[in-house]
Amino acid sequence: MKRQIPMLILSAVGTLLVVSVFIPSARHWQEDASLYFDIIAVFAFFLGGGNLIRVHTEKVNRKSTGWIYSVVTLLGFGIMLVTGLFKIGNPNGIAGDLSQTGSYFQLLFQYVMSPLNSTMYALLAFYVASASYRAFRAKNTEATILLVAAFVILLGRTALGVLLTNWIPAQLSVLQIPNLAIWIMNAPNLAGQRAIMIGISLGVISMSLRLLLGIERSYLGGDN
């Protein structure tokens, strides 16, 4: 019993949604499904939030290593939750927009969350450089192609690319780095993207079918 019912729910819901694409009057089920998902996700917040609080309070009680940082997390979580749910400092009170300028919620977002967000994002500039230094090495043919393609595009994005190959006559102008970079983006890159996308779509179709037919059961406690 434990296993049949979930399988039944899964196949029924999935099949209905697949069919709803083809029946005009059932098409709204698609939006309903994503709305229902959001509502269930809100319930799941209790599990997630609960877990966050439990894990960090446990760390604090057991004074395990780095418990002071758990205090910081719990404080941050508490403060943000309170200022958000009660809209403290929000000029229009409970009806005001959550991120109304002037509300403490917006202040915390603007001066704590967004600098952290954009700085984490900015770390990518460093990581892109170290990944390039380490990964683009001509170890084998594939790695060499990877290196050459990245090298041409990188050069094409700077004035260096133009200066290096300006001397090439108009008849061979595709060999000028900026044009070569555009050609690489236009032809091989486009072909690769297309092949990957067709592959992905077939992967999703075969996986969804495996789910709907109940062949893929590891998460539902099936016994395969």
Binding site: I94, A95, S118
Partner: protein, 272 residues
């Protein structure tokens, strides 16, 4: 000098700089009320402190990064839970469920919406919460089944239409572009970027590239002989794709760093 004392000295220095910057920033505040100036002075300095703490991770893991990380986790978890509450619960559920709550939250009550259906996700949501009770925790699988069924159902047709069908039809490209016969083709042949030859070459590369790329993804056929060659060309095309898109995105990443450093030098030290 143990690392403990080094750490203490470092923290003291950071606190000192923080204080100086706070005072300076509050002083240069434009708004008339002293309280806002002091508060904004603190907030700007704190933003700078967080920025530098994150950057310090590049050197190695340290208490400043741990502080910034744990604060970020706490604040952002709270942020998204408030967002979830206001936008989904108050925004979507309340208008469909009860008139009194809608008035309380000043949200337009939806008259004709089919109310009973809105209780389906509620029931599945409650079932999900049964995970907290070990005895009947397995009931939560019903909610998971609902969600996974919905995801599989929605994505099957979506990927079929948006990726499979449209990418196949986009691949119907002519292998001879504005063709006026072999003679004309031969005496205009050149590697000029906007020339006919390059246009034709591009379409050939796209056609062969897509076919070989697909061959690479074959699972159930031995990649040997002609099939093996096609698969090899396929992986080469994929490597060009990865190299090209890696190189192309580098600029976008660097502009993010330029933005942060301009913030540090401009808004904080205003030496720009």
């Amino acid at each position: 000098m143990t690392s403990k004392t080094a750490m203490r000295i470092l923290t003291a220095i950071v606190a000192l700089i923080f204080l100086i910057s706070w005072i300076m920033k509050s002083g240069s505040g434009m708004s008339d009320s002293a309280f806002t100036n002091v508060r904004d002075g603190f907030l700007v300095t704190f933003a700078v402190f967080l920025t530098l703490s994150i950057f310090s991770f590049l050197y190695r893991d340290n208490p400043f990064y741990k502080f910034a990380e744990s604060l970020y986790v706490g604040i952002s978890a709270g942020y998204w839970m408030c967002y979830g509450f206001w936008s989904t619960v108050v925004g979507n559920f309340v208008p469909r469920a009860s008139r009194s709550l809608s008035e309380f939250f000043h949200v337009p009550y939806q008259e004709h919406a089919d109310h009973i259906l809105i209780y389906i996700p509620i029931i599945f949501g409650l079932i999900l919460l049964t995970r907290l009770l070990p005895k009947i925790g397995w009931l939560s699988r019903w909610s998971l089944a609902f969600i996974i069924g919905a995801t599989a159902g929605l994505n099957l047709t979506r990927y079929l239409r948006s990726d499979f069908i449209s990418q196949v039809s986009n691949s119907f490209i002519p292998l001879f572009v504005d063709w006026k016969g072999v003679g004309d083709f031969v005496n205009h042949i050149s590697l000029a970027a906007d020339g006919q030859f390059i246009a034709i070459l591009s379409n050939w590369v796209i056609f062969v590239g897509v076919m070989c790329g697909l061959v690479y993804f074959f699972f159930s056929k031995e990649h040997k002989g002609a099939f093996g060659v096609a698969s090899r060309v396929g992986i080469w095309i994929l490597m060009v794709t990865f190299g090209a898109s890696f190189g192309y995105t580098v600029m976008g990443r660097i502009s993010l760093l330029v933005g942060r450093i301009t913030f540090l030098f401009g808004d904080w030290l205003n030496i720009l």
